[in-house]
Structures are given as C-alpha cells and as structure tokens.
C-alpha cells in the first residue's frame, strides 16, 4: 500500500465504480430535493417528480403532436442536427482551405492573416441581428451564425498546425520534386486532418451554444427552440430531459469524432491532446 496519495491508483473495477459515484450521487440529491418540494407543494414545477419525465417521454417521443403531427423530440432533434451539421461542415471546409493557405503559402498569409485575426475577435452573437436582418429568419442565418462563430477559431488553429510542420519536411518534399499542390495533397493535408478533428471537437461546445442561441431567438422547431418555449410555462419536466438529451448528443458526437480519428489516422494515435 502506497503511503502517498499521489501513488494510490484504483484498479479498473474500483475506478469504474468511483466514476459512476458522482452521477448516482447527483441523481439521489435530485430525488431527495424533488420529493421534499413536492411534499410541501404538490404543484411545484421546479423539480418535477421522475414520473413526470415518463409522461414527457410518452408525449414527445411516442405520440405525435396534436397540432403538427410530428414526434416532437425527433423533429426538434433533426432540425437542430441539420443546422449544427451544416454550420460545422461549412466552417470546417472553409477553415481547412484557408488554414492551409495561411499556414503554408506566405502570400496568402500576408493578405489574410491580420484580417482573419480581426474577424475572429468579432463576438458572433453580436453579429446575430445582422444575420437575421440580412439573411432572414430561416435556416441560413442560424447555419451562418454557427459557421461564423467557430470557423475563424478552427482556421487559426489549423494555420498554426500547418506552420508547425517541420521545415525539413517541406524541403524534403521539394527535393523529391513536389509542386506546391502536391505538397498540399500529400504532405500537409493528411497531416493536419487529425488535428482538424481535434479542433472541431474543441469547438463543438461553442457550436451548440450558437445553435441554441439562434433557435431561442427565432425558430419554429429545434431543441433550443423547445427549451426556450417551455421556459414560458416553467415546464421543467420537458426542459430537463431536453438538456439531458442535448448533452447525450454532444457526448456522442465527441465520441464519434474521436473514433474517426483513431480509425482513419492510425499513424497519429497517441498524440491526441484532448481527452
């Protein structure tokens, strides 16, 4: 038995048990407080009883909405994922092209470097009204907000990653007769793709933030729209499961990106920085 705390390592089974402990604990705390409040006032809406979550589940997942005929959780999820996916995809693509340009080609760097730095400083939410005015209240403005919000961050990160590629490799490629485009396709692009995935993983949280903000302000569907709609009725029995569901989606997308990275880039295993 180690005498120092820093040398004390739980074995695998204990580690799993320890990891689930905080989750179980917070559920228990919720149940205790919920029961206490409901005992005082059966109409209390702040901490609904577990049974009301089951009702929500039935209403939103299993039965179509009386007004629209949609299964609300699914239609909200699809609407949100479409916006999120489009925004992230556009941001990633643009960031990839410009990031490689900025990091690799000095002329592109001279023209755009200061501009991108300045644009990255604009608070995206401050741009939201402009987007709604210019692009209308439809999907375009929401997708644009996400893309504008995370694009410059990914772009700058990628430009740094490209600039980090050792000078020796670029000289080497040239000494093998490579043109600039061949260097991009064969040397730079494959090496920054795993880093691009890391970058995207890190900005996904922000992407969700912009999505929910845009949906809160102007939308007829979407996870963020539903949460802010239900806020008016203090419907915690809907809001809490929605928040839980969004968290689950975020965790799943992070996991998928991580799996994609290890699967697609076996050479880059072990250099992941984010856990």
């Amino acid at each position: 038995m180690a005498s120092r705390l820093i040398n004390l390592r739980p074995n695998r089974r204990v580690a799993i048990a320890l990891a689930t402990l905080p989750f179980i604990l917070s559920i228990l705390i919720y149940l205790v407080f919920s029961a206490a409040r409901l005992a005082e006032n059966p109409n209390d809406k702040v901490l609904p009883a577990p049974s009301s979550f089951v009702e929500t589940f039935e209403r939103y997942v299993l039965e179509p909405d009386v007004r629209t005929g949609d299964y609300l959780l699914w239609s909200d999820t699809l609407a949100s994922l479409y916006r999120l996916g489009s925004g992230v995809a556009i941001a990633t693509l643009v960031a990839l092209v410009f990031g490689i340009g900025l990091g690799l080609v000095p002329v592109v760097g001279s023209v755009f470097s200061a501009f991108v730095t300045a644009v990255a400083m604009v608070p995206p939410l401050a741009v939201l009204p402009i987007l709604f005015i210019a692009l209308g209240l439809g999907e375009t403005a929401k997708i644009a907000l996400i893309a504008i919000g995370i694009g410059p961050v990914i772009m700058r990160d990628l430009a740094l990653r490209v600039a980090e590629i050792p000078r020796e490799q670029l000289i080497k490629a040239q000494s093998l007769g490579a043109s600039t485009w061949q260097i991009v396709w064969r040397i730079v692009l494959p090496q920054v793709l795993p880093r691009l995935i890391d970058s995207v993983r890190l900005v996904m949280g922000q992407a969700w933030l912009f999505l929910i903000a845009a949906e809160a302000i102007a939308a007829q569907s979407g996870l963020g729209y539903r949460i802010f709609l239900m806020r008016r009725y203090l419907s915690m029995d809907v809001i809490l499961p929605y928040v839980f569901w969004i968290t689950l989606l975020a965790v799943a997308s992070d996991l998928l990106l991580r799996l994609l990275r290890t699967w697609a880039f076996p050479w880059a295993r072990g250099e992941t920085k984010a856990p």
Partner: protein, 257 residues
C-alpha cells in the same frame, strides 16, 4: 557526373556574417565531410547548397550549371530529424518520392506506372535492410531504421548530389557503424557526390574522401558579427591513401599483436 564547385561564397544576415570566402571543388563522385564547431555555419552552408537560401555573394554550380532558385530532385537531403513523413509507412515514404516526381496534380501514380514505382520502392527498402518494416510508420521504427529509411527515400529519385546534415548524430555507436557501411555502399554503387556535415571527426575521417573544416578565424566578441567562418582545413584523404599505398611502409595492420 556530379562536380560541385563553390566559388567565393559568403552568407550574411542583417546583423551577422556567417560564412565568408568559401571556395572548393568536390570533383566527381566525391565524399566530402564538413566539420566545424557548433554554430559556425555548416547547416547554413547546406541550406545554400539546397537552394533553401541564397548566397549573399559568390556562386555555386553543379556540373557547370548554377543552382536553381528552389530545391530540385538533383539534390537529395537527409536531416538529423524530421526527414521522413510521419503519416506514411516505410514503403509509402520511399514510394512518395517517385509519386511526387512523376505523379499527377495530386501526387499520385496509377496503373502500370504505380506498380513499377511500388516495385522500385520495395527493392530500395530491401536494399537498405528495411524489408520487414515496410508497413510500419516511422514512429514505430528505431532511430537507426528511420535514418536508413531517410536514405532510401532520398536516393530513390537518384540525386546527383546527396546532402547530409548530421544524419547520424542522434544514433548510438553500434547502430552508427552499421549505417556507415550502408552509406558507403550506397555511395559506391552510384555516381553521386556526397556532402556530409558531421560533428564527429572519426566519422568524417573513416567515411569521406575529403574533410573540410569550417571555423571562425576571428573570435573576439567585437569581431564576431563582422567576420564569418571560412575553410580552415582541407584534407584530401584519397591523395593521402594513394600516397600511403605508393610509399612502402611497415605493414601496420600485421604488426599489431
């Protein structure tokens, strides 16, 4: 044919003269070792030879032709580190040389040309003793194997001149001996001229046909910026070896107990 002629080359940065009055001619199929203290400008000199930078004064020619303004396949290079591409397997690392030289816009070859290139790359890999490692990534190879791979990669395009910047500096002595033998074999099999920077004098004297030393002649602090390193020492080992074979001597090797 690969005669490198360096004529009165200077390299100055804004604040500092790094190299001055460098002149020599390698002759064909030479193996020149460049030695000198750390920071005296050996890597800078190779960067000039690679067209990564331009000489401030003077000219460098290969077989009578001035150096092109950019790196080209007639000059191969191996660095101490980062010579091979981490995202390609050993075989791909060698193959990529042919794909970049002969391939399309995307740096790819197809069909029969690809198969021929693959076969050539596999043969080269076998030649440097890495046949069994062909599907491994550089991170999975030892330091010595990585430098073997770097040699294979540099030589697949058959450069006229091979530049080496302390290529074996990070290797342990045993590994180094093996790779020395490999380098000599590769040099003898081709017509290329080798210029190798090293800080290891025994290495320079065992491998090279000629050893050139760079050093600063003026080293007082107030002179440091205004004067660069130049050639302080130039031994033609071939001539020495020839001389030794001409003059009958006590057979050293046999006299040893």
């Amino acid at each position: 044919m690969s005669n490198v002629v360096v004529d009165n080359v200077w390299k100055e940065y804004e604040t500092q003269v790094v190299l001055e009055r460098i002149s020599f001619e390698t002759g064909e199929h030479a193996f020149v070792a460049i030695v000198g203290p750390s920071g005296c400008g050996k890597s800078t000199f190779l960067r000039l030879l690679m067209s990564e930078e331009r000489a401030s004064r003077g000219t460098i020619t290969i077989d009578g032709e001035a150096l092109p303004p950019e790196p080209t396949p007639e000059r191969g290079i191996v660095f101490q580190r980062y010579s091979v591409f981490p995202h390609l397997t050993a075989l791909q690392n060698v193959l990529v040389g042919l794909e970049l030289r002969d391939g399309n816009f995307f740096g790819r070859l197809f069909g029969r040309r690809r198969r021929q290139a693959r076969a050539a790359a596999a043969e080269m890999l076998d030649h440097v003793g890495l046949k069994d490692a062909s599907s491994k990534y550089p991170a999975q190879l030892s330091g010595g194997m990585q430098q073997r791979l770097a040699l294979a990669q540099a030589l697949i395009t058959k450069p006229k001149v091979l530049l080496l910047d302390e290529p074996f500096g990070a290797l342990d002595p045993g590994t180094r001996k093996d790779i020395h033998a490999l380098l000599l074999r590769l040099w003898r099999e081709t017509q290329m001229t080798v210029l190798m920077v090293t800080h290891d004098l025994p290495e320079a004297f065992t491998l090279a046909t000629r050893v050139i030393a760079f050093d600063r002649l003026r080293n007082r602090p107030e002179e440091k910026a205004a004067y660069g390193a130049t050639i302080t020492f130039d031994v033609d080992l071939e001539a020495e070896r020839r001389w030794q074979t001409m003059v009958p001597q006590a057979p050293v090797a046999e006299a040893a107990p």
